[in-house]
């Protein structure tokens, strides 16, 4: 069989290994592009031997909507409603970072209370996103019931978003200049009630998920990211922290009011699926604490928005900037270039998923078995929508 297809392997895969499909020892499997678990539309091309993965290639492109390009054709204000759509579970980071880059180049100062409200929503977004991840992580290991609790409690947080911003998913709340509205009457009490409810749930989750023989068995040792990969792959967020790297934009380069809030960077050392889950779990507790701190310490009134130049003619001085923030999955960044016109010259969105879902996944899957692929994928906590801007 001279024409047997040979799949070349990249350096990332075990060196020198070649897979001869015609040998009959291997099978190709596709996972996705329908949601493999809760990771969105991308697909994994598995080459398996028995149920062991010998090679994995990631395929993206199912979700490409060309946001970055679209933004070059829209005025600065018109981009405000679309940035949130880049990432469904954590839209607010897009809103915040877009606003922050625009404000920096345009020299706009945001009122203090607006910064508190922004910070509050970013932490609420983290909470909602973590709760959704619980759904994915447990679901992928066949523990869907726990997942339902997570998803439900995320919905309670979305209720808060809905009353604050008028939308459950796409909040469009953080707008250049500030935010679009005050906290509704009685918001604080309702928010605290939701936080208590989540806290109550966390106890159960700890018992049912983290002290669960099945979960431990499957998650421990799965997908161990070697410490030395962290920097060379540009790994951030809980994926890095679970490997013992205390990297967190909120501490390293504090934005909004994080330098005034009380929290520690959570780390672990095992760098496997279990430890990553544990770091996230601790960060849910951390989010609850941060939100409570903010509700207590936030000034009770004050301006929420700075008057912008007329958005219909708004031109922004030429310049460029990169701003970043810590979302649940790591570093989220916006790079904005202005040529002085009314339209951005270039917007580049750096989501953590690109690194974590594409390159990292290709490396880490080899050697795992088929049944663990979904759980492994979720353990990197990636959202394909922000891979494909």
């Amino acid at each position: 069989m001279t024409n047997a297809p040979i799949i070349p392997l990249t350096d990332n895969h075990q060196a020198g290994r070649r897979v001869d499909l015609s040998s009959g020892k291997y099978l190709k499997l596709w996972q996705g592009p329908q949601h493999p678990g809760i990771t969105g539309n991308m697909s994994l091309e598995l080459t398996v031997s028995g149920d062991e993965i010998v090679d994995l290639r990631t395929h993206v492109g199912y979700l490409h909507r060309g946001f970055e390009k679209l933004m070059e054709r829209r005025t600065y204000i018109q981009n405000f409603p679309i940035v949130c759509r880049i990432c469904v579970p954590e839209p607010d980071f897009n809103e915040y970072l877009y606003a922050a880059t625009v404000e920096e180049l345009a020299g706009i100062r945001v009122p203090e209370r607006a910064n508190w409200l922004r910070n509050l929503t970013l932490e609420m977004a983290r909470l909602a996103s973590f709760l959704q991840w619980i759904g994915g992580q447990t679901g992928a290991f066949g523990m869907g019931v726990i997942g339902q609790w997570g998803i439900t409690h995320r919905d309670y947080v979305l209720d808060l978003f809905e009353e604050l911003s008028g939308g459950r998913i796409y909040h469009m709340y953080i707008i250049p200049g500030g935010v679009r509205g005050e906290l509704p009457e009685g918001f604080e009490e309702r928010a605290r009630a939701v936080l208590d409810k989540v806290e109550n749930l966390l106890g159960d989750i700890e018992r049912a998920m983290f002290h669960n023989a099945v979960f431990k068995d499957r998650a421990k040792g799965l997908g161990v990211i070697p410490r030395e990969m962290i920097d060379s792959y540009g790994i951030t967020g809980p994926n890095a922290r679970a490997a013992g790297v205390a990297r967190d934009v909120r501490k390293d380069q504090p934005y909004l009011l994080y330098d005034q809030l009380d929290f520690d960077v959570v780390t672990a050392s095992g760098s496997d699926t279990y430890d990553r889950a544990w770091v996230r779990f601790q960060e849910i507790h951390q989010s609850l604490s941060l939100i409570r701190q903010m509700l207590t310490r936030m000034p009770k009134s004050g301006p929420i928005h700075t008057q912008l130049p007329n958005p219909l003619h708004w031109k922004i001085p030429a310049g460029q900037t990169y701003r970043r923030a810590e979302c649940t999955r790591g570093e989220y960044g916006y790079y904005l270039v202005s040529d002085g016109s009314g339209y951005p010259r270039r917007v580049y969105v750096r989501g953590p998923s690109y690194t974590h879902a594409v390159a990292l996944m290709e490396s880490m899957a080899v050697g795992a078995n088929i049944a663990d692929v979904a759980g492994l994928m979720v353990s990197f906590h990636t959202y394909p929508p922000e891979i494909e801007r």
Partner: protein
């Protein structure tokens, strides 16, 4: 694997007894939050169809469309936004930017239908179940996309103003002008309200883009008096400005002035070059006021040979002899007039056209012609020229019509203003009563203040009814003018001891009597509430009339005069094909910009008339 890890998950067993989290009947049990961004609502009465919502919508989900029952009026385009929910992303930017705050959203988000067409409709115009819903998104307090505040105009302090006739409004700096220009949403509602239909959004944009020349050229397309109008225009445009609904209107007039101030002479020359070939037809224009000179300008641009006849020694009409220098400095008026003259328009000053049938020499009152010869008669112009346009204004002040008005201490407002322009000092003395509440009254009162008088304005109705610009009333007050409203003149008496040196002004208090909906209340004298005040001078400034005696009778019959006004068509046509008229003698609004617009339209009318004439000649 420890035993604990097997037993631990079982400790959450009580969750199995929980009720489901799912909302069973979301349509009824789960209405959108109070701020939910659901289907739009629009208050049809408040919306003005400015289309700003359409401009901002990045999804092009909005089209402005005609709606049955909504008329196009001054300040309302008559269109309303139609929203295509196949495109809308519910961002509510349209709500945030709505100039009138008419557009909001309901909290309704569920609507199922098999006909896709229904999802494109005009909110507010087609009854929807959520139209009256209290809940839903609207722009929050403390957050707005459009700046409601006008850039403040630097002005002289009232004390400084009173010491001279220096212009009190100082003009915007480049930075201020740009900031003010930035507030415009370019809806163009103002253009319809401007009697000359100036391209206001266009020249405001030119300011934003630092294109002074472009702005000036745009202004000259419809108005050859930008420096003057930039100061004294009645700015009807600002009244209807979309931003006026929730904030201060754009300072359109000051922006116009900014362009005129910034443009230097070479800019002026550059924009007014005419490409039209010279034409041989001659047009005579009577009156070098804004109406006459506007007609002259546009006729000259079309290549006609234009001669303007003006009774006074200088041009500008009431802009010069009425409006005081502190509002419109003469050099600014001259700048506008000089440009018209520089195009080759001949202006014969000191030349009063008379009504004599045959020109048998000037009357005593008529000045000589500028060439030293007698001033021509109307008849002569009619004979010698291919067309005649006249815009002779309203020079005759009406009197109070009351007893004792022939008292020597009664001087009309117009004559005071005219004297000051001519460099004479009107004999006002100390205490002055000005009667009336229009611009002439304000100008006379404030002029008197600048001459050191104590001034009281007496007006028949309430302050809100005063036809004078609100600004002028405020400024007059700042300058120390006192106001007595609801004061009806009764008679003027001479106190024997004052020997004609002081007038006793008798006036009565008015009661405002309601006249039903659309009419303003009428002031009715209360005969038991009569007051007498002594003044050194009483200044009636209640209105002016035309003086049309320069038109011979037979000609007048053909031209068509109704109630002392010239009856004209859309292009200034009178009953006599060769004769056109405009300005205060024919229009309703009686301000500079209307006269300018009349002049422009008449120029078009005359051009059409002369071309038709020519083609008739050629074919015959």
């Amino acid at each position: 694997m420890s035993l604990k890890d097997i037993l631990s998950p079982l400790t959450v067993w009580r969750r199995t007894a929980e009720k489901p989290y799912t909302v069973i009947d979301p349509i009824n049990d789960r209405p959108g939050a109070a701020r939910y961004r659901g289907f739009h609502k629009n208050d049809m009465e408040a919306c003005i169809g400015c289309g700003t919502c359409e401009t901002i919508c990045q999804n092009a989900a909005i089209d402005l469309v005609p709606v049955e029952g909504i008329e196009t009026t001054n300040g309302d385009s008559g269109l309303r936004p139609q929203i295509d929910y196949g495109r809308c992303c519910w961002c509510a930017l349209c709500v945030d930017i709505c100039t009138t705050s008419s557009l909001t959203m309901s909290n309704e988000y569920i609507w199922v239908d098999t006909d896709p067409e229904v999802f494109r409709f005009v909110p507010g115009a087609e009854n929807k179940p959520w139209d009256n819903s209290e809940l839903g998104y609207s722009r929050a307090e403390g957050y707005q996309l459009l700046d409601p505040e006008r850039v403040e105009m630097p002005e002289l302090e009232p004390d400084t103003r009173l010491t001279s006739f220096i212009e009190m409004v100082q003009g915007y700096s480049a930075e201020q002008a740009k900031k003010e220009a930035d507030r415009c949403v370019e809806c163009g509602i103002c253009m319809a309200a401007c009697p000359a239909h100036m391209d206001i959004p266009g020249y405001i944009k030119a300011i934003r883009e630092n294109d002074i020349n472009g702005g000036l050229a745009l202004m000259y397309q419809t108005n050859p008096f930008p420096a003057s109008c930039g100061r004294i225009c009645t700015h009807r445009c600002e009244e209807v400005c979309a931003i006026n609904h929730t904030g201060d209107p754009i300072a359109i007039r000051w922006l116009k002035r900014y362009i005129a101030d910034m443009a230097d002479e070479s800019d002026y020359q550059a924009i007014t070059k005419t490409a039209e070939p010279e034409r041989t037809e001659k047009v005579a224009i009577i009156g070098a006021g804004p109406g006459g000179l506007s007609a002259a300008y546009y006729l000259r641009l079309l290549g006609y040979q234009v001669t303007v006849f003006e009774a006074q020694p200088h041009g500008g009409g009431m802009l010069r002899y009425g409006i005081p220098e502190y509002r419109l400095p003469y050099d600014q008026l001259d700048k506008d007039i000089d440009l018209v003259a520089s195009l080759g328009v001949e202006i014969k000053y000191n030349t009063r056209i008379n009504g004599l049938k045959e020109s048998n020499g000037p009357k005593e009152s008529d000045g000589p012609g500028s060439d030293g010869g007698p001033a021509p008669s109307f008849e002569q112009l009619y004979q010698d020229y291919d067309a005649v346009f006249f815009s002779t204004g309203l020079p005759d002040p009406y009197t109070l019509g009351i007893q004792g008005e022939d008292h020597p201490r009664v001087i009309s407002g117009i004559s005071i203003l005219e004297d000051v322009t001519a460099g004479k000092t009107p004999d006002l003395r100390k205490s002055v009563a000005v009667v009336g509440g229009g611009n002439v009254a304000m100008d006379a009162a404030r002029t008197a203040r600048r001459m050191g008088c104590e001034v009281t304005v007496l007006y028949r109705r309430r302050e809100v009814d005063m036809p004078a610009d609100e600004e002028e009333i405020t400024e007059a007050k700042e300058e120390g003018v006192k106001f007595i409203t609801q004061a009806i003149p009764v008679r003027i008496e001479d106190k024997p001891e004052a020997k004609g040196e002081q007038a006793a002004f008798v006036w009565g208090e008015a009661e405002m009597v309601d006249q039903g909906e659309d009419r303003r209340p009428k002031p009715v004298l209360q005969e038991d509430k009569i007051h007498t005040d002594l003044f050194d001078t009483v200044v009636p400034a209640i209105g002016q009339g035309s003086s049309l005696d320069f038109i011979p009778e037979d000609m007048a019959a053909k031209i068509g005069i109704i109630k002392y006004k010239i009856k004209v068509g859309l292009h200034g046509e009178t009953g006599e094909p060769k004769i056109f008229a405009g300005g205060d003698i024919s229009n309703r609004l009686k301000d500079a910009i209307s006269a300018i617009a009349d002049g422009h339209r008449a120029a078009k009318g005359i051009d059409r008339y002369l071309r038709e004439n020519q083609s008739k000649k050629e074919t015959s």
